[in-house]
């Protein structure tokens, strides 16, 4: 196995900058790794060998010509298959878009291409980003590199698995209720959901527009920050994008100094319902933070108890509308158009065959929740909860700088274990959902292995809007202390795939 695939993005950046390695060599090493292990991991839905090597060649040519390049020029990346890529399949994990090739690039894709990042391919995901295990992908599940019989989290399981399997040092995910952070937690990687509006959503196939956010994934806090800086910032194509300077995330990731900071532990996100090993590692991490000079405060956010319920009204409502465009008329799958059926019949048959069960379940829930006579009781009430949750956060942040909790209640579960129990599946996101509802940034980073199953545990950091830099500052401090304690990054304790 080439040593290059073990390197972090920031290390590769240095080697590329000093021209010790070429971008083509780096890309080829990762493509070889994908060829070796992805048959077992199945992180990628589509590998773009030619495009990746061409992009790498371009970077090498520019560097040879003495052009000043960004820090990540020549560094490979796995792209969640929810982002539109011109000329490359974008399936969103659904049969509905199995053969759809977008005519345009998402804004983040454009920014990454301009920064010289080499896109290796498109990563697997739960269909339309609905799920917490990647089992709902129409193209089969992704397997967790820590244990191939287990799930890699979801919906962005492909992105987190490709990092843990050393198929790519960086990945892009999207996070509507935890789809970046929960996969990061169960694969021992880092993932950040930026402030809502911090990264343009243009070109990300919408699940729930008011909750969706694109974010960076990496194996270290610094790598994640480097990618964050490339993709973030105002975009006139997304009206919800924030027109303000990007928080100094890279600087914060390099600083990692939390002396004198106030860190709040959210009482409602822990305790009962959380696996013992998750609780244990979380409590130990709190002690580490304290030892680094932070003041730990317990805070209460009582409305968080209603977050999951509110989320599962708002998300289906918005997705029932967002997914209405998949009707077989203009793009994607069309079923039953043999001249004998009406347009309604063709739409209906296309949707019945093109969507999986979880997608249909949420469309129906949302259609019902928005119906005349039910709107106030469901969507209206859920929006009120959302306001209360934002108020809980505001109150908490008047006392502390950041909040922390376990990212997910359990470590990676077995493939198939929760597939027939939607409610159990939904509970995976109980701790990650509140920041989505409030539009705030959150990070998950590894804090060790649960003693009972030797699987990674993640800690979540939450910050006020546009204070994404605080996530990186706290994350970097904790990561540095833990790696020192372990003697090596957590992924080095993983048995090879």
């Amino acid at each position: 196995m080439s040593e290059l695939i073990r390197k972090d993005a920031s290390e590769l950046s240095g080697l590329l900058e000093s021209r010790e390695v070429s971008a083509v060599e780096v890309a080829q090493a990762h493509l070889d790794r994908i060829a070796d292990v992805d048959g077992a991991v199945r992180a990628f839905l589509h590998v773009d060998t030619e495009g990746a090597l061409n992009a790498a060649k371009n970077v090498d040519a520019k560097r040879a010509a003495g052009e000043k390049l960004g820090a990540l020029a020549g560094v490979p990346l796995g792209l969640k298959d929810i982002l539109a890529t011109k000329g490359l399949p974008t399936t969103v994990g659904s049969k509905m878009l199995e053969n759809w090739i977008p005519p345009y690039d998402a804004t983040v894709v454009t920014r990454m291409r301009e920064a010289g990042i080499v896109i290796l391919g498109k990563t697997n995901m739960d269909e339309f980003a609905m799920g917490s295990s990647t089992e709902h992908s129409a193209f089969g599940p992704t397997h967790n590199p820590w244990d191939l019989e287990r799930i890699p989290g979801g919906s962005g399981g492909g992105s987190s698995a490709c990092l843990a399997a050393f198929e790519a040092p960086l990945a892009i995910g999207t996070d509507t209720g935890g789809s970046i952070r929960q996969p990061a937690a169960v694969t021992g990687t880092v993932g950040v959901k930026p402030t809502y509006g911090g990264v343009s959503r243009y070109g990300a196939v919408a699940l729930a527009s008011s909750l969706d956010q694109i974010g960076p994934c990496g194996r270290t806090v610094l790598d994640t920050a480097l990618l964050h800086e490339v993709i973030a910032g105002f975009d006139s194509m997304d009206q919800t994008s924030i027109n303000a300077p990007v928080p100094a995330v890279v600087e914060a990731a390099k600083r990692g100094d939390i002396k004198g900071m106030k860190i709040g532990v959210v009482r409602e996100l822990g305790g009962e319902g959380y696996q013992a090993g998750v609780r244990q590692r979380f409590d130990e991490a709190v002690v580490v933070l304290q030892s680094l000079g932070a003041e730990i405060v317990e805070v209460s956010c009582p409305s968080f108890d209603y977050a999951l319920a509110a989320y599962y009204l708002i998300l289906p409502s918005e997705c029932s509308s967002n997914l209405a465009k998949f009707d077989g008329i203009r793009f994607g799958l069309r079923v039953g158009d043999d001249g004998s059926r009406s347009v309604e019949q063709v739409m209906s048959q296309t949707r019945a065959e093109g969507f999986g069960d979880e997608v249909i379940r949420r469309i129906m829930l949302g259609t019902y929740a928005l119906s005349a006579g039910y709107y106030d009781a469901y969507y209206g009430q859920a929006q009120k909860i959302r306001t209360l949750i934002a108020q809980d956060f505001a109150k908490a942040f008047s006392q502390v700088d950041v909040l922390i909790s376990p990212t997910a209640p359990t470590t990676a579960f077995k493939i198939g274990e929760k597939l027939d129990d939607p409610l159990a599946m939904y509970l995976n996101d109980v701790a990650t959902i509140p920041v989505n509802l409030a539009g705030l940034p959150g990070m998950s980073l590894p804090i060790g292995l649960a003693p009972e199953d030797n699987l990674p545990v993640g800690l979540q950091i939450m910050a006020p809007a546009m204070a994404d830099d605080r996530l990186y500052n706290v994350g970097a401090a904790l990561e540095r202390a833990l790696v020192a304690q372990w003697g090596a990054p957590i992924l080095s304790s993983m048995a090879g795939v």
Binding site: L83, V205, K325
Partner: protein, 504 residues
Amino acid sequence: MSEAVISYDEVLEKFDPVMGLEVHVELGTNTKMFCGCSTEFGAEPNTHVCPVCLGLPGALPALNKIGVESAIRIGLALNCTIAEWCRFARKNYFYPDMPKNFQTSQYDEPICFDGYLDVEIDTDEGRKTFRVNIERAHMEEDTGKNTHMGGATGRIHGADYSLVDYNRAGIPLIEIVTKPIEGAGKYAPEVAKAYVAALRDILRNLGVSDVKMEQGSLRCDVNLSLRRTPQDELGTRSETKNVNSLRSVERAVRYEMTRHAARLLAGERIIQETRHWHEDTGITTSGRSKSDAEDYRYFPEPDLVPIAPSREWVEELRAALPENPAVRRARIQESWGLSDIDMQTLINADLLDLVEEAVAAGVSIEAARKWYTGELSRVANEREVDVASLGITPATLVRIEELIVSGGLNDKLARQVLEGVLAGEGDVDAVIAARGLAVVSDDGPLLDAIKDALAADPSVAEKIASGKIQAAGAVVGAVMKATRGQADAGRVRELLLEHLGVSE
């Protein structure tokens, strides 16, 4: 298909009509409401499209600021309150002409609300002002356009297949909705027409739309219900869609009143439904029933941020509004020196803009009025269309007047020229050349014709010679007839008197 109706007088004896008018206006912005695509009319199908207006996965809307500005200006011109804060909403329903299967519109938070428009109508007691209250004016996007191929009706049912053109999808629309229009009584059809005409004037005057009803840039839906007395609750309404000329608005209201009344008198219920207006036969037919399609599951559009027009901006726009059409009319009447009746004739026939346009192009006020109220109105009436849609340009009238003044045409010939232009035979000069319509200006043939006429009735010559010059008219008429109108009547008269040695 045609349903029973009763006489209009009988409707009025027994019922009180209530109307609601919904007008959709396509704004004349250069680009669409939520993307940078062109709004130009008549382009090749599906060429003015992009990921946003095609609703491709991942695309997001970006609001057109000129669209918002136009909406506010319309609201101000209609005496509306401008919202301090409002949002877009999604109106969800499936239809092939809707790229996203929801229309981005406004629901319970319109940008303009609570306005009014005063319109004038002729009543038995003379000219009266009638106030139409405006419920709201809100922003939305247009849908694509379906063309149903095959089948007899041109409608989706029975068609072999349908073609969809998304060029129109995303063009900014303003929907202006009245409150229930009550108390119009027998004048309901006239009030409806006057309202749409006045609204069109205001919109054109604001320069926000080309308001061409025949191209669909201004479309009217007519809601109508009847009740026994003005004290009763509102009756069940029908919604007649896409009534696309002023004349049709009036006719559709009248027709629906007689249809509703016939049903009610027969003890039947009115079905709440959309109805299609048939311009040719002047009736409506049943469209889809609304009961199965009315739940649009509106919710606030999460991809757009709320709109909060600053009060300073609103006041700036208010201060910059153009002259109100009513004020403009008073000014025109004075500067043209028209009587109330002459002015009203132009307004009632919806000719003021056309005449003004012609005058601006150089036609004399008298001639412009004469052509529009006379020959052109007659032809329009014959064809059952609006005068505007005849497509006579000011340049045509300018040329005709030039030729009349120079003696190249007379009135009768000019009418034939117009007939040729209307028939698509080319411009004025082309029609004259093709039809050989120039005035006979050579005195020789005219004098021959005069002599022939005098020979046919020698007594006339004596009468004229004895001073009864008015008898010359008969000779001039005979000459005109003989020359098939291609003579200059004035010149014939001169020649006649000269020939007889009589002076006036």
